[in-house]
Structures are given as structure tokens and as C-alpha cells.
Symmetry: C2
Subunit: 645 residues, 2 copies
Amino acid sequence: MSVSETINAKAIELGKYVVRMTTQAGSGHPSSGLSLGHLVISLMHRHMRWDPADPWNPGNDRLVLSEGHAVPVVYAAYADLGGVVGKSRDKSHTLTAHELDRLRTVDSELDGHPNPAEGFPFFDAATGSLGQGLSVGAGLGLAARLRKCDKRIFVIIGDGESREGQVWEALDFIVDHRLTNVTPIFNANGQGQADYVSPQQSAEALTKKLEAFGWAVKVIDGHNVEQIDAALAAVPEGRPIAIVARTVKGWGVSALQTKGNHGKPLEPEQVPAAEADLDAMYAKLGVPKTADRTLVPPKPKSLAPLAHKAIQLPPFAEAMKEYGLAGALEKKKLATRRAYGVALAALGKADERIVALDGDVSNSTFANVFAKAFPDRFFECKIAEQNMISTAAGLAAAGFIPFASTFAKFLARAYDQIEMASISRANIKLCGSHAGVSLAADGPSQMSLPDLAYFRSYTETDDGFGRPACVVFHPADAIATYHCTAIAANLTGMCYIRTHRPDAPFLYDPNTKFEVGGSHQLAEGPALTIASSGYMVTVARQAVEKLAAEGVRCTLFDAYSFPLKGEPILAAARRTGGKILVVEDNYIGGLYGALAEAAARTGGVIVESLVCRRIPKSAKTPEEMFAYLGLSVADIVAKAKTLAR
Amino acid sequence: MSVSETINAKAIELGKYVVRMTTQAGSGHPSSGLSLGHLVISLMHRHMRWDPADPWNPGNDRLVLSEGHAVPVVYAAYADLGGVVGKSRDKSHTLTAHELDRLRTVDSELDGHPNPAEGFPFFDAATGSLGQGLSVGAGLGLAARLRKCDKRIFVIIGDGESREGQVWEALDFIVDHRLTNVTPIFNANGQGQADYVSPQQSAEALTKKLEAFGWAVKVIDGHNVEQIDAALAAVPEGRPIAIVARTVKGWGVSALQTKGNHGKPLEPEQVPAAEADLDAMYAKLGVPKTADRTLVPPKPKSLAPLAHKAIQLPPFAEAMKEYGLAGALEKKKLATRRAYGVALAALGKADERIVALDGDVSNSTFANVFAKAFPDRFFECKIAEQNMISTAAGLAAAGFIPFASTFAKFLARAYDQIEMASISRANIKLCGSHAGVSLAADGPSQMSLPDLAYFRSYTETDDGFGRPACVVFHPADAIATYHCTAIAANLTGMCYIRTHRPDAPFLYDPNTKFEVGGSHQLAEGPALTIASSGYMVTVARQAVEKLAAEGVRCTLFDAYSFPLKGEPILAAARRTGGKILVVEDNYIGGLYGALAEAAARTGGVIVESLVCRRIPKSAKTPEEMFAYLGLSVADIVAKAKTLAR
């Protein structure tokens, strides 16, 4: 049998699995999978250099299935090749065709959408929220270049999916960074979920757009093996290559080809007719019914994973001097965002796994300290935060430790990508700067106010490996920022570091220890316990000093991390009249939420709050802003007096 | 003086204001404003048909300044025309040149970025988080068409900003919907913040891309009045027109033209030299120094605002029958997402202000019930959620009541746009379907787990008009969904309605009253108070029945709205041993957070929770999923027994 015949025969054979798996599961997207049979088999059985027995080998070519709902066809092809599944090499087994029927069940590795963390290591990232895969591929492409590995990354994207703006951000990014090792394949089957795809996403329109974005485009029939072959074998000449493949949704099965069949499996009684339809394709294509088993992917080069090791930073003062901030040591004050930049550069010096990404604001987030020191490991993502986060997830999948920074407000642009990264258990570190109302003058469009509620939401969710789905650091001074950034780098999993614009005085001895979920007591007094975090610690400390001068001595905590260990603060509260006043620069759901939940688990402690309870506007200074919002030193003093015993 | 001379002279004059305003404020982006002088003046003084004395007139042509940081030049032009500022007609005054110096102060209408809600009604939406303005313009364009008004909408977009994928979503949307009344103007000044813009965003690249996206493109010198004139006067022939204007960042001021001057005002001592630079432009351009005051914009047609009125729905059963769901009335069960569709269609019948948008999943969210009934008021946004939300904000600014729906998970794609809409006080209604872990089979990429924490974060923030920044509805059955959707339509401000995939039994009498922040008691018993919301009420109710059968009679609350009035539930808890068990299908920060905060304000009630504390995966049924996550009926029963007195 010729290779072409084999692939055609396999497309029919695996098509049957797709139909049966989804019917057995009672849900899924058989029509999408059928449209991809020839492409997926051409990739997995022929063009991708990878080892089904070792899907963890970093030298393997990679496939990112951006239109994740089509995944059953990949599972079927994977079983056909005897691919290995499991959460680790130790706990792995060869996927059998029989197991395909366990699609979407709770004890299966075969989730409804690609989900590597549940034991399908062929994939690098969870997909299924559309438009993110090409960015993941870009991250994998950058990683391959850093590792001097000539692997290729293929990304399959739906035509309807290409409406997502992130796809166009990724296309720009790939051209900017000359990542010709990344090949997007657009699956132009012409049908979306609720309707046909727009003419704006037709194969013709996509082709024009891709060319205008600087790409070489190969337009092919996605069911023609020779055309697929030629497109996949094409060598980029300067510009990266994109493939636009015209396909038939529900290929081979007439019942799945009409509009309205997106995401609908056949009823069991429809399966025999579907199988008959597919059987008829053998004759139609002129290929024998028994599929050849000799077609296997070419072997990849073996590449060792990047070695894990603890990353140690130099003492704070040393790093500050190295990166030109000796003056701040004398003044004993510095914005936390500047300390982040120093820590990031020091981390980069200590470990080559550290990479950084920023969205055209590196001179504000201070990721530019790293960029200057390690330009080859800094990736300018321009004003396109969605692509930045998914690219970071791709870099993380390849073993790097990416720090992605922008204004905290603009990270919200990528909250969906961040949730997908959490499902991938991506080891990404996010830094959101200029957070909260202390930004003042620029106004609310540049602040970030629901971010602590959002990120805290993840922090008490186990990622399945005994770790929080996200760890949050909200440091109050430069020293805390320096140490928390180092902790984040050494943790495995997603972290969020929240920094602020204004200079803040040093509150800590440079050798202070910080930890996940930790807090530090900054003042002791019997009248009331006050808890705060980030820049508001500085404001609360001024209030505590003023209160002390008036004879109202309060206990003050800096609760700088979630998931918060609340007990030390609750214990202090029990010693100070049973009350806690929380001071925050964001909407509800952050520290106030965490301490209220901790208090409500045991009862007996009352928690009150001064948080941002009004949509902010511009104000000339942070102090003017605090006064506008009832968060000034005077407001804290007044509120504390009403609560103090 | 010729018009051209006047505009040139004004560009110089207003440039001086831009320099002085930002220096006075001590922050801001003078170089961006200077690049737009000729364009803004040509628009505001000459091409836009609008009334500076009545910026609220819906018949006015509109300007959306997507690159919001450039706003001082608009403020200066507005003051030059004697434009009126204020939060309402009653409380308004003419902006004077003197007031420009109050830029970015807390008592000024002139926020650091466009912020209509603070009293600058010339704008329709807060901008400053980049890439959103063209979508807002698309919403305004749709609204104009619905109102049969021939107004034009101009949108100024930065070249660096055009890296944001949302811009390309909006460009597709405008072509799909043939909105030739919307004219984007790309400000190609070549400089971003941290660096020059990428060649991918050069004027040449933008032109190619726009043409490939189906646009007619006029490339002009953005400081040449004749070229600006011709481009703005061009009449679309089929395709919409986009303008690419080459400009000079820091036009007229040499100190602001070098790289690294983004977002940096001049120091006071630099201002005289800048003014001298600008003064020299008079001679250079050959225009007299005294600017002509006779240039005023053409008068618009007057158009009445859409009338506010209460929207009444027919009885539940009547609407159910009208939209083909009589069967559900007999079975007494229906998915909340289906009831949403019925309510939406009934609202559409009751009031023409109701419009709906969806992202290619209207047959899942059931917005398609509305789409079938009112196709002219339904806008298919395809798979591009960011554009959908900002378009909704544009429709809301024009007086419509837009309901935007997609999977709750995919709304996260637009959380930044949602925060911007909250700053605009946009009257938008969001419906997120398939929320939470009851989705099961599709897996976590399609669920939404931090959404309640995120949206609840807004609910205790005042929008400045005595309303919550967002109201959340999380109905447990079809009847609750029907009524809550009607409440949302009648509220002014942002609402989030969270619906679920599975069928849920009817829990309520069809005439039950629902309210913002409300809850209903569904069972009475002395052993323990259990609170839940959404689909989990059905699960908790099964647990309560099972517990009752074992002699453990519990009180059950359906807490279906935030900001939650917690007192009835706390009062019940005090009667049932002082404990509440919260049952939720999402990560922390939702109902558990709300009740913990309520309890911690007074003390004396313990709140425990069963929430999603593990990242989910696929499971065949909701029940299998609940068991995996410790949220099954059996888990609730077991936990309740440990807490029951």
C-alpha cells in the first residue's frame, strides 16, 4: 500500500472511532474530528518526528490542537500508534483502542478537550477555549530556539476560531520573532456552531489576511494526502508558512455534514449508517479496507528536560547595587515594581530557565531590568496580553520559568488564558503592576480592582498535585517583593505578584523570611488588629502610628500572600478585643474575604473592612485618591477608633 | 483665514494647552496628544455634526478615542468650542480653558483617560485599556442604524494599539454587519511606550491588513489638513472606509519627539522651550498666530433619547407556551439557560430597547429564541467575545439594553472589557451559560469557576449613582431565571446572570417574587442552615430531603443574588445551632465569601463550605463530577451531619 492509500484508509478507520467514541460518551464533536482525519494522520503518523513511547521527550515535534473540541480524532490516532498516557513516566501505559470508549469519563485520561495534566502528555496545554493554541505554539517555538532544537510545532486552528483576535496577535508575534518553526494549519470547513462561518473567515479571506500579516500561505484540500504532504514538507523561505486547508465538516458521514451538527454526537441507532457511509469511502477513494500498520512517525532526536534546581538569589543589597539602585538603599524606599525588576534580573542571572515577557510596558513594570541584562531571554509581546500569557504557557510547557508582566489591569485582558494555563498546570509567573487605587492620576482604566478577588479564587483549589492552583504575593515593600519573587520562581505552578506604582518605604530587614500564605506582624498593641497588604500597609502603618500617638495602640499585620494562613492574625485579634480591621485598595474578595472566611470558620472574631467601595476616578496624588474613597490615614484612624476596645 | 490655516493655527494653540495641562498635572501623555492635533480639530471643529452645547443629543456624530491616553488634546479642543461638561444636563457648565489645568484632579471632569461617567458626556465609553474603542464604535453604529439616524462614528486608534486582537475582531464585525457609518482612524506615529512599534503595525502593514480584512483604506499625512479633509469626506462605496494617518509623535515639540517620551509630561522648566517650538510652527506653516474663532462644527439633527419605562413580562407559563416550551411546564423541569432564552424573547417583545448579542453559541445559551423572534435586534458576534462586550457597551451608551451571552467561561475572555464597561456605567446585561462543574463532560476548559468571585467583587462597589457596579443573579430554576432576567432588564447598570447546562426541577411557584440581593428559604429545620445557589440548590435540596428522611431536618436557602442581603440567612443560622453550610459549584469567593463576610461582620455564626477545591476534569454526568469533587448529595449529607446540632 502506498503511504497515501494508508493515510486514506486510516482516515476512514479512525473516523469510525470518532463516531463511536462520541456516541458512547453521549457528547462531543464528531463532525469536527472527521474534518481533520487526513491532516491529523499525516501529521502524527508521517510528518511529526516524535516517539509515541516517550511523549515527554522535549525533542519531539509538537501538535497543539487549538480547536480542542476536535480531540477525539487525535486520541484515535494516538491509540493507533500505541502512544503512552499517564501523569508521569512512572505511572503510564499504552493507550489501547478499547480505552477510546472511555472518552470523557472521570477515570480516563481522555478529557472532552485536550488536558495534558490529566494524563495525556502528547499535548502541552489545555485547549478548548478557542484562539489560544497558536500563542502556545509560539511559546514552544521560542523554547525550541533557546534550546537550539530544530523541532517543529504544528497548530490546528478552526476557521470560525480564527475570528478570535488572539490568533492575529500570535501571527504578528511569530513574524516579529521569526519563528518559522511554528506552522499554523487553518481548518476551513466553513461551519461554526450556531451557523456557517462568516465570509470574513472563508479560506479566501484567511489567505488574504495571512499574506497581509506577512505569511507565506499554502492553500490545500485537507483531504488530499499529496497536497497535505507538500504543504507540511515546504521549507520556509524568510517568511513563516501557514496552511489553509479546505475540509468537509463531518467528512465521510452524511448525517454529520448538515448545518446544526456542531458538538452533537450521533444517536446509537445512527451509528451503523455512519459506519456504512465511511465503509463506502474505501471504494470511493480506491483504497483497501485493511489499514497498513507499518506507518510510524520518524524518530525525534532525544533532548534532556531542563534540570530542576533550587534558585538562590544574592542578598537584597547586593542585587540592588548590581542593578543600579544603590540610592534606594540609602533613601530606604522604592516602588515594589522596581524591586520586582531587580529580583527578575537576579533570577535570570542565577538560572537560565528564567525568561521574561512584557507587553510594551517594560519601562513601567521594570521587566526592562531583565531585558537589558538578558535580551535573548526577554520577549517583547507588544500590546497584546492574551498572546503574551498563552506564549508564556508554551514556554513553561517546555521547562522554562516565564515571568509575564504588564499593568495588573491589562492582565485582566488574559484572564481566560490564565484560567486555561491553570488547567494546564502551567508553571507561569504573572506580575501585575500599577495595581489598585494608589495609581491615582491615570484613573480607573489603568488600575486593577477585582484582581485580588479573581486570583484569590484559585488559591484554595488543589491542582491535583497537592499545590494551590495559584499562589498570590502582594508585597508591601521592596524587600518583601524581592523575596516573594524568588519564592515564586522556586514554586511549581502559577503565581501572581501584585506591585504598585508609588515609592514605598522599606518595612523589613533585608534578611526577613517570607513564605507562601505568610504574614508579618509590624506593630503590637492591645486596642485592635489591623491587617493590610501591598501599598496600603504603608498607609495603615501611618494610621497605626497616629493612633499610637493618641494612645490607641494597635496590632498591624502585613498579610502578603494567598492562600493565607489566617491563624496568626485571628490569634492576635483574640488578644485585641476580637476584632480585625482590613484595609485594602481593591474591591471586595481579597484580604477582607480571606480573613472573613478564616474568622467565620471558627467564629468569635469580627472582621470589618475599609476597601474600595466606590468606582475610582483620577486624582492628582494617591493621598487625594484615598481621601476620595474613604481609605486615607484619617479614615483608617477614625474607623479604628470606632472598633478599638 | 482659510479653514486650513485656522486648523493649523489651532493645532499649534491647542498643542500648547496639551503641553501645559500635562505638566501642570505632573503626569499624562503630551506626545500622543500632539500627534493628533490636526485630526482631532478637523473632526471636532469641522467634520463632526454635533452640538457642543448639547453633547447628550443622540443625533450627534460621535468620537471614540480608543487610544485614551491622548485625551488632553480632545479636552483642549472641547474647551475651545465651549463644550458642556457635567454628569447631567441639570448639573452642567461650559468647560473653560482655565479649567484645563485641573486635568487629572479629583474634582475635575477631566480624568486622565476618557471617563464619561465623571462628567464628560462627549464620550460614550471609558477608554484607556487599549483596543476596545472600535468595538464601542460598532455598537454605536448598530444603534444609529436601529434608530434610522445617519450619524457617523469616528474612532481614533493608535498604531501600537492595533496589535490588540480585539481591533481585528471589530474590523471583521463591522464588515459582517456593513456598518459603513463607523470610520476608524489609525494614528501611525510609529512609537509605542517601551519602544518603536513593530513593523507589523507600520502604516504600510496596517494598510495591507485592512485591505485584506475587506476595508477601503485612505492613507494620509495626519498633519495635512487637505488630506484629512478628503479622507473624512470620502463616501463609502460598499466597503467601509478606514483611514491610516501618518503622524509625528510629539508634533511641534522637539523635546517630545525622541523615543522614550511616551506618557511623560515635560518638566515645568522645559515648557518655555516647547512653547517656542510650537510658536515657530506658525511661520513654518505660514499661518497667522491668532486663531480664528469662527470655525464651529455643523449642527446635528436632533434626536430624542430612547424613553425609559418599566418593562413588564407576561406570566411565566404564558411565555413558556409562546416560545414552544409547554412541555417543560408539564414535566416541571427545564435548564436555566433555556428559561433565559424565553425571558429574553419576552423582554424583546415588551420593549424595543432590548437587543441581544451572542458569540456563535446562541443555540447553547438559548439567545436564539430571541434571534428567531427579533432578527433585526440580534447581533451575531461570532467567536470574538471581547468585541461582543465592547459592542454591547456601545449599544448601551446609545440607550439600548443589550443582553450579551456566551458560555460563562468565554465571558472571561472579556473581563477587561467588562471592567471598562463598569467604569462607563454601561447598562449591559451579561449571561454566562454552562457555568460551574455541572457541565461535567466537556471538562474544565468550558466551565467557569472563578466567575462568581470575579463578578461578586463589583457588587459592593457603588457606581457613584447609588447602584452596585454589578448585580449578580444565579438562579436555581427556570422560574427564578425568568423573573431575575426581567429584574436585570429593569435595573440600570451592569448585571451578570449565571445559567447552567442541565435540566433543573422547578422549585418555585410561578408568581414568586425575586429581588436584587434576595434569597428564598426552601426548607425549614432546626439542625443546620444550608445555603446554595444555581444548580447546586437542586443538589442541596436532594441532600436536605435525604437528611430529613434520616431525622436531620435542615433549613435550606437559595441565595440567588449579589450583593446578598445576608441577614435572613444569618438569622436562620442563629436558630439552627449557629452554623451555615454553603454548597457551591465554583472556586472560593462566591456565596461562601459573601456569607462569611456577613457572618464576620457580626460574629457568632460559623460558616463552612463545600465548594470546588480541586481543578475539575471531564466526567460523564454531573453526578460523577460532583462525586469527584466532593460535592455530591452524599458528601453534602455527610458534611451536614458533622455540623448539625
